[in-house]
């Protein structure tokens, strides 16, 4: 009986040990999702699956999709694409006369949330003068109050207040939507350089604005992940288009 007992214990110990070794070896690619809810399709136009309309022959800034009167306030336009197109056609000086209202903030219903959003945008403004890439992201992290070396929420918030995880999560979301914003700004720069026309640029900027709103209202990791993937896909399409136009 003792023999049976010792054999059983030995077998179980081997089993336990081998399970642990397997756990170390698996998974360098991140924590698996605990949420398998399918991501909803993006309803507001344009969807990321739309082509960036790369049909232009010669990129030009003079292909208006709407013709706003000079005195028109872009913020008063209801349609998001028309509103963005209106802003793109205005000079920086003209835009200064309009109330500052990023599309992401415009979508927030409550006034304090809206104001917090505007304040965040304003606080991140200096980061645009930093070199794109690591310097700009380092600036954003600093402004958002994030550590330069990011950690998992669980590790970062060990022995900290209860709201630490939620606070960290929101800051990370802001960092991610800033990355979307970065895409928008680069595309606008290509527009100013004549590499993209107004229609393509408006579509892209509206797509990014919509993506930020959908990302903020997402309720699961999968939904957020889906938005990021769609932005990646749309960005890659646009980059390919700009590169091909450049090589012509």
């Amino acid at each position: 009986m003792k023999k049976i007992l010792s054999t059983t214990i030995t077998s179980l110990l081997i089993l336990v040990f081998s399970t642990s070794v397997f756990a170390v070896g698996s998974g360098s690619g991140g924590v698996p999702s605990d949420d398998n809810t399918p991501a909803p399709k993006q309803e507001p136009a344009p969807t990321p699956k739309q082509e960036p309309a790369p049909k232009q022959t010669a990129p030009t800034k003079s292909a208006p999709i709407s013709t706003p009167k000079p005195e028109k306030v872009c913020n008063d336009i209801e349609n998001i694409k028309e509103r963005i197109g209106c802003r793109l056609e205005k000079s920086e000086e003209e835009l200064k006369k309009e109330p500052y209202m990023p599309e992401e903030c415009r979508a927030i219903a409550d006034d304090s949330g809206k104001q917090n959003c505007i304040d965040r945008y304003l606080s991140l403004k200096p980061c645009w003068s930093a070199t794109q890439g690591k310097d700009r992201i380092a600036c954003v992290k600093a402004k958002l109050g994030l550590p330069q070396k990011l950690q998992t929420a669980k590790k970062l918030c060990e022995n900290k207040e209860a709201n630490c995880i939620e606070d960290y999560r929101q800051k990370i979301y802001h960092l991610i939507t800033f990355r979307f914003y970065d895409a928008e700004e680069r595309v606008e720069k290509w527009y100013e350089e004549g590499k993209l026309n107004l229609e393509v640029t408006t579509d892209f900027v509206a797509f990014i604005a919509t993506s930020k709103i959908i990302f903020n209202s997402a309720r699961s990791k999968n939904e957020r992940l889906e938005v990021i993937k769609e932005v990646i896909s749309r960005w890659n399409q646009t980059v390919e288009f700009v590169k091909s136009a450049k090589s012509k």
């Binding site: 336990v16 399970t19 605990d34 970065d182 990021i228």
Partner: protein
């Protein structure tokens, strides 16, 4: 004796689960440095950043 064996099995199983959870928790996600090329948006890093908090 059966009771004793059952207790050992339960204890060892729990130990196995706990050690696995500990290993999972101790893993960290290394986010690569952002590239600064004109076309580098580094959105793959956004996916990793999302992993940190979800």
């Amino acid at each position: 004796m059966k009771k004793f064996l059952a207790i050992i099995i339960v204890v060892l199983s729990l130990t196995a689960c706990t050690s696995q959870i500990d290993i999972e928790d101790s893993k960290d996600i290394e986010i690569p440095e952002d590239n600064s090329g004109e076309y580098d948006l580094n959105l793959e890093n956004a996916i990793l950043e999302l992993d940190l908090v979800e």
